[in-house]
Symmetry: D2
Subunit: 242 residues, 4 copies
């Protein structure tokens, strides 16, 4: 089994903010592609916003089984026609992993059916996040403990405006008095989708073993289970009478 992964990153903050660039010298996409490349089953490429077509050409998309998405300050710069193309590909079966602030990306909102993935947040020099598993038999928690901690992160809090029906995997606790549904999966069409909250750009969260493990498990979980060439989501089908 080979799973073809494309890691997409906004890749702007790393270039304009020395602190962020120091944490992720190859970009966030580079760090993620890095640990994924150690898995024999994975074939990993990257793409980012300022490439032509945001790096998501037809050729790239047609050779992507699972797309990982990270973005936060330039959601509005992602072109609608690219969003539409990726969206169709998800409905046809391509797996998606949305990380951290990707909850507010055009693509997440369009798939989710909500406007902005609204939530409350606070970035105050790095707070502890403790993730509790609420779904211990879920493949994404395979090998993970009952709970674990991210030492320094940005706080995200409820109410988190996500569509009903997601399969909840972890709930996070923050010392400032907040909780957050920090990992969940859902499906749209033939596509399986995984959202994982940890991953603020200022802290080395994608180097943490538990987070890497959840992303790797997530890739296996959302990979396509179908022939992706047969579906046309643009038309209703008129059946002949038997």
């Amino acid at each position: 089994m080979t799973i073809k992964i494309t890691v997409w990153n906004e890749y702007r903050h790393e270039k304009i903010d020395k602190h962020v660039g120091d944490v992720y010298p190859q970009g966030i996409h580079g760090a993620i592609a890095g640990f994924l490349s150690y898995c024999e089953d994975f074939e990993v490429g990257t793409a980012y916003l300022d490439q032509p077509e945001h790096g998501l050409t037809d050729e790239v998309l047609n050779n992507t089984d699972v797309l990982i998405w990270w973005g936060h300050m330039a959601h509005g710069d992602v072109k609608d026609e690219i969003v539409e193309k990726v969206y169709d590909r998800v409905l046809e079966g391509m797996g998606m992993v949305f990380l951290h602030s990707a909850h507010a990306s055009k693509l997440f909102c369009k798939l989710n059916g909500t406007k902005t993935g609204r939530l409350s947040w606070r970035d105050h020099g790095g707070e502890l996040e403790r993730l509790f598993t609420v779904n211990p038999g879920h493949p994404i928690m395979n090998g993970l403990p009952d709970y674990f901690e991210v030492p320094k992160t940005e706080m995200y809090s409820e109410y988190f405006d996500i569509a009903q029906g997601a399969e909840l995997i972890t709930i996070s606790w923050f010392p400032g008095g907040e909780v957050f549904r920090s990992a969940f999966t859902f499906t749209r069409g033939k596509g399986r989708i995984f959202y994982l909250k940890p991953g603020h750009e200022e802290y080395p969260i994608y180097y943490q073993q538990e987070i890497q493990k959840m992303i790797i498990n997530g890739v296996y979980y959302v990979k396509p289970n179908c022939d992706m060439t047969q579906v046309d989501y643009r038309v209703n089908i008129k059946l002949p009478r038997k």
Copy 2:
């Protein structure tokens, strides 16, 4: 308790097709508003596509607790800015009832997170539809039997491309060999949403007692349970540190 209802209809087919006009001389919206008006709790208005702003002005929307939507051949003529405005109102808590071919409306797809509400269909002079309840304790099935039949209808069949997580209420059987998830509810933001399949324009389905009962129950089910003035879905909220 007063529930303010607006029944929205495309209202074109009735005017160009004598047969449809004969079935619904006051328009489909007129037939639906008609039976709803017998309920003491309901205050009922109507609106349709060819009115200014499609009849959905701010004043109308701000005085609507539950919006009922029927459309089929002119989904593309509904203006995006109106869709956006109604969508926001749903997230704030306004209840929605989508009827029949409204599964392919811009508003349904945007709320649902799917592209076209894709399904298979056949209209062949009217086929039987038998609806089985699969959720007998659901308020929308209150007073309805284990199953009932619509004598003549358009056939809709699976695969029906709706978002995972809907609460399924009925499954329909068709003599030609098809099944369909014909009634379900879901939520987005504070809004509750009910989809009901029966209601093809060529047959007098909205005069049938069981269908009227399901729509009436549905209105009670999706009515707002919240103060609809407090939410702003356009922004994420930055919390101060405690």
Copy 3:
């Protein structure tokens, strides 16, 4: 509309522990029946463990639309035949509200499909609990804020072993570093079920306005929506051929 409520309580701790008796001089059932009695729609009775048949005779059950259950240290003393009878009544449509430690009652586990409603807990002189709503359009949160606090309570923590598929309403935060799914609904057969965590016997939690409001909303939510006389859950039905 009249909803006939029976509030069931173990009613032992109040009699053997002066502190608990001081908090609830009429028993926990008395306190709950007290505030419920102010609602015009409700007709409220009580029952407790040490009455004959635990106070749950056929006559009582046949006149109960919604049963509220509180118990913690004597779950094992509830007779299996009474559990079975109440269980059947729930499948036929009687609403259930399980409070606090009722998660470990025979009845909850039998309905839920889990063994003990396993969780982690700590009672350490009363800790703060902050409940966040994660389902703002749910009728049970009608009139409740985005979050509210119970000043002193017993801590309950994940992992909470409940069946998948519950509709989550609130998540609780505790200062000691824990989170808990503290309010949710689910259905079995025709019966609707509401679990609410707050309510430790040592603190005056059932006098708190938000908790009272949630229980009142919950009663409306789980009340039967069906004719409760037609279902026989003991048999599979052999259909004749059409």
Copy 4:
């Protein structure tokens, strides 16, 4: 990866009814174990009712990752202590596949939280069943078409009394006018559970390729994703204060 499977069968009908014995000369368990044995990843054993401890000794259970269950006329003869032991093992993570009339087994009902898995049925010389997929991205439908047919089967119809929250995979159509939720998954504790309706003992359904494919996919889907030695479902855990 090796998945250790035990196929459990009632194995009485095959011995007392020549017709059934002719269809399944090695027993239904033999037929199922037969096609599973062709998968390199699987290590397959069998067990049946009239063996000591129903063939489900501690040694067998501790070496079972996935248990497949078929039974119909002797559910009452399965000893409660064996049910309890298997039930605990499921909560700890062992995968379960329930086939056909196993919906009324003690184990299914206990895990599901319903009394009898009540449904309507008819066996009338073999009727057609057409299964529609309603979850095309689900791993269990990998390689299966949009719909397929079982030429001769026993009819099962809604209302099917199963717990809310199952992930629906297929809906079946029957020519006599019925529909049925014929394949779904759910979880309890760490255990994943798959129910598949087709499989009446009088027809050679377990020799049909699509059914074999669904069972094989199902085994992969429900296999444990966890260390199964750490959970004790008998106790609530008292946490120390941080």
